[in-house]
């Protein structure tokens, strides 16, 4: 396999381009200086500040609560959708499942805002955020589950049916265990997406309920200190771990999601 050297060179540059900014963020979180300009000395001070920052902790707790709740519900609904799309080939469901994922997030955020205020008269808060997150997470889980199902041998299901299993038994004893890695990968992806979501949360959060991304955003706008670097580093660690675990469960599922 010929691999030209300039291909290597460009790729290395691109990888560097991807990683250097993030490395800078992490490194400067340990910088003993208010400015993100030059390296002064090593310190864990900013992490101290972070853990004593009540607003930040509130935001983190909110983020986690929202992420856990919405990923659980989205996984359930998304798995159902994935199975339905694969098995029954419905006409509208694929469109409804994919579009919230494919369209610009701001459209979903804005339409949900309108809907909550005008129709439901719902107070914006945790519930509105959770509902919004579920809406776009369903799509991801459905894609992953469907990809997993598509890659499986249909004959297993036929065999089960031939042996007299009811649809429910087939699902419980055959389908579900087989798609389990895909379901878990989907759940983890939903969790990550929910924790990281900014745009949709921005519109459906109202005021008073902060999530980590919203908190980071207001810190960036008002006063940037390396505390932002610290919380960024921790967030990166969290999502990194989640994604690595997810990829272990269903490596091809993620590729299917890329389609």
């Amino acid at each position: 396999m010929r691999r030209s050297s300039w291909l290597w060179a460009i790729s290395a540059l691109v990888y560097a381009f991807l990683y250097v900014p993030l490395i800078i963020v992490v490194v400067y979180s340990f910088n003993d200086s208010r400015l993100n300009a030059e390296w002064v000395g090593f310190t864990l001070n900013w992490y101290h500040v972070l853990f004593n920052d009540e607003q930040m902790i509130r935001a983190a707790v909110n983020s986690l609560t929202i992420a856990v709740t919405s990923s659980l519900v989205a996984t359930a609904l998304g798995t159902m959708a994935g199975i339905a799309i694969h098995r029954y080939r419905p006409k509208f469901l694929p469109f409804m499942v994919i579009t919230p994922v494919a369209m610009p997030e701001i459209l979903l955020g804005v339409s949900l805002l309108l809907f909550f205020i005008q129709v439901l008269n719902l107070t914006l808060g945790m519930l509105s955020i959770i509902i919004a997150h579920i809406t776009f997470c369903i799509g991801f889980v459905a894609i992953v589950v469907r990809a997993r199902l598509a890659g499986m041998d249909e004959s297993i299901f036929e065999a089960a049916r031939d042996l007299g299993a009811t649809p429910w038994q087939t699902f419980k004893l055959v389908t579900f265990p087989l798609i389990m890695p895909g379901v878990i990968a989907g759940a983890l992806m939903s969790f990550t997406l929910s924790i990281d979501d900014f745009v949709i949360t921005f519109f459906t959060a109202g005021v008073g309920v902060a999530t980590l991304p919203l908190q980071i955003y207001s810190m960036i706008k008002i006063a940037v200190t390396p505390e932002v670097n610290a919380v960024s580093t921790l967030l990166m660690l969290l999502t990194l771990t989640t994604i690595i675990i997810a990829s272990k469960f269903a490596p091809d599922a993620l590729r299917g999601a890329a389609k």
Binding site: R3, S4, L7, I10, S11, V14, Y15, F17, L18, Y19, P21, I24, V25, A37, E38, L77, M80, A81, R87, P90, F92, L93, M96, V97, M103, P104, E105, I106, L107, L108, V110, S111, L112, L113, L114, F115, V119, T135, A142, T166, P167, W168, D196, V199, F203, L212, P213, Y217, I220, V224, V228, S232, L235, M236, T239, I243, S247, P251, R255, K259
Partner: protein, 299 residues
Amino acid sequence: MINLLNSTRVTKWLVSGPPFLYLTLFFLLPSLIMVVASFRYPGEYGGLAPIFGVEPGKESGLTLETYRFFFSDFIYTQVFIKSFGVALATTLICLLMAYPLALLIAQSPKKHRDFMVLLVILPFASNFLIRVYAWMIILGPQSAFSLVINHFLGLFGIEPVLLLFSSFAVLVGMVYVHLPFMVLPLYTNLEKHDPVLLDAAQDLGANAWNRFWRVTWPLSLPGVYAGSALVFIPVLGMFAIPDILGGTGDILIGNLIKDQFLGTRDWPFGSTLSIMLTIAVLCLAGITAIISRSGVRNA
């Protein structure tokens, strides 16, 4: 009862029902509300005016006023054109950067590939705001990068340039955030190419460039289209990147929409802008579908 559960029809509704209902309620309905809202009058103090007349003398009902307002001044169309321009530029730059990388990964030995793909996905895993913030640091006036660039420009007698809060920063941010979205579909496609084709081409006397241009590139077009769609469409709706990295004039459609809802309180106009954006996205999706289908026919 058990017989009912075993019927395929019932299971079909049981399985596809809940997600269908949920999405109808929280996706379709809100979208419809948004369409209707674009035809309504703004409330006196913000929000929307009621559709059915409440008080005499106050406007109610539906109107095309907001759409007329949109077209009344070229400036709004200008913002759309600008957003398309940024989206196009971002897509092209992402393509130029992602293609060599995807090619390299596809041509690497199998055991390395998954790891290399993971390396591409990982930055995407970090929070989007963090990635934008990283560029605030790098492009800030006191950063090493800025100092080097300005020193270099100074050699030519050019005044120091502020890299942050500029259109340049916005473009860099957009490319940075969307690059993985271009790499993955390209890679998925390129991985499937049969190396035999390239060997055959070489045997027939094609040089490296021709091998790429006449074999690899045409076969990779579906991946190119998929990746482009994954970059172009989200960029159209972005507001956070211009908001954080941009200067005063870097307003894109997303910023306008956000301002209407969370600033000017002109909800009908915000809805109108959203509808125009949706139409633009749908047209693009349609064009992409047509091109990729005809491309497949020619390949």
